[in-house]
Symmetry: C2
Subunit: 280 residues, 2 copies
């Protein structure tokens, strides 16, 4: 029998291939096809949505540590956090490492993603039952409209700007997110692959700059995302990136992380020339 | 007709897939299978050796800018440079951007690689006919044995530690490289993927630390290499990394680069926790 592969080939004509062992879950929700498969690789189990790579047991920490700790550590005392998307629970898990946090709201449109991850990806979803975590199976576009002055940190852990996540990449949505922030609040939003999504990145940062006075870009390696390289937008009304790092929290959380440490944090906003041109 | 893909699946069970259009060159040298194919992707033409990804027209600068400019810019006046391997010419091209350079020796064991790249990858091989470049089709292991006090910079732009490149990952070879350096000399050596070559990295750094008093690690994104993330070893007897950057050369060369700039350079030695554990 020939080997089976999961392949995600981007419009750029190249992408990732993973040896596939067996499908553990497959379902069609109101929004997308949800699948978890067991790979025959060091990546372990893999979550895909509409056949696009979302996360794997073996490399999920690359993404989740970066979306959470860069903005969280730059805030003096993050108590209330909103995670938009992120139904796998990895971002919530990292957020809850900060002992300042009193409440994290997860607003995920697709309940099937949450259920599948709780059942099949327990190392990622492990904190979704934490009493500090409130799960809302709702459209974040609607949810955010009347939330004013509520959150210290908002993390936009969305899918791509095509499909169910499309409305999370608009000026109206970003404006509502800004208004949901408390004073000194910070937003981090996944902002696609600098290698294969150059047009999408340019468009997203142009929109963000209309809404937020401070918009900056940070990047890190994600082995299973297109080009192996990912960008996040850091946005705030008043707090510049790298203007603060909570040393005590930083030291404590570094011990729990596979990637995150203070030096790595400080280095994340140094961008290659081609990405500076797209985002600055 | 079904689509054709080039796939490099690492022993970790995952890897890269590229749409393949047509083979432009295929030859069996005394050392390896050499192939250049036209991809149906933004990567353009692709060079493989023994079916392993070496470089592509579309992303070669990620690798070549990093192996060359990090050590070169940390040297006050690099005049003589040795490139070991690197038959595609990309590293030589970057080295020759430094106007301090009087001579670069390319010591590549496989003449077929050089010939194929000159013919099919001219944007990479473009400086191989530069009068400052001396090309030796020789085994670097033998070549380096009697070269004492000759080079300001040695760049080990080799294949993997399996196959023809194996002898370039030994204590004896590194000792000879050290002795080939002039005072204040610096070595950079490609040191595999932190994501999928953890064992090889540990072994290589353990050897390097036996030979060089200063051994440091820097990393950057390489979209077409396993895990999308690559490491290089920076080694010297006396010159610490980041102890010097030639501001004037830096500014001038940054204008010619797609990645390299001063901030990006300064950020390269900040490593994720899991890689610090392997190399420190």
């Amino acid at each position: 029998m020939s080997e089976k592969f999961y392949k995600e080939i981007t419009p750029a004509g190249f992408g990732i291939a993973i040896k596939k062992k067996e499908v553990l879950f497959e379902g069609q929700s109101d929004f997308q096809k949800v699948e978890v498969f067991e790979s025959d690789s060091e990546l372990g189990r893999v979550l895909t949505l509409d056949d696009l790579m979302m996360t794997t047991e073996g490399d999920e920490w690359h993404y989740h540590e970066m979306i959470a700790h860069i903005p969280m550590m730059n805030h003096k005392c993050p108590k209330t956090v909103l995670v938009i998307g992120g139904g796998d629970g990895g971002t919530v898990r990292e957020v809850l490492k900060h002992d300042t946090v009193e409440k994290v709201v997860l607003c995920e449109i697709d309940g099937m993603v949450i259920d599948a991850c709780k059942k099949y990806l327990p190392t990622i979803a492990c904190e979704l039952d934490n009493p500090k975590c409130e799960i809302l199976v709702e459209d974040a576009i609607e949810y955010i409209k009347d939330k004013k002055n509520m959150f210290d940190i908002v993390l936009i852990d969305s899918t791509d700007p095509m499909g169910p996540g499309e409305g999370l990449f608009t000026e109206e949505f970003y404006t509502n997110v800004k208004e949901s922030l408390k004073e000194g609040g910070i937003v981090a939003a996944q902002s696609e692959s600098p290698v294969v999504n150059k047009k999408e990145i340019k468009k997203m940062y142009d929109l963000l700059k209309k809404v937020f006075p401070i918009v900056s870009t940070y990047t890190s390696n994600i082995p299973t995302y297109p080009g192996g390289y990912w960008a996040w937008a850091y946005c705030s009304e008043t707090v510049k990136p790298l203007s603060y790092i909570d040393e005590e929290r930083c030291e404590k959380i570094t011990k729990t992380c596979k990637i995150y440490n203070k030096d790595y944090h400080l280095a994340r906003f140094a961008l290659p020339n081609y990405l500076k041109e797209l985002t600055e």
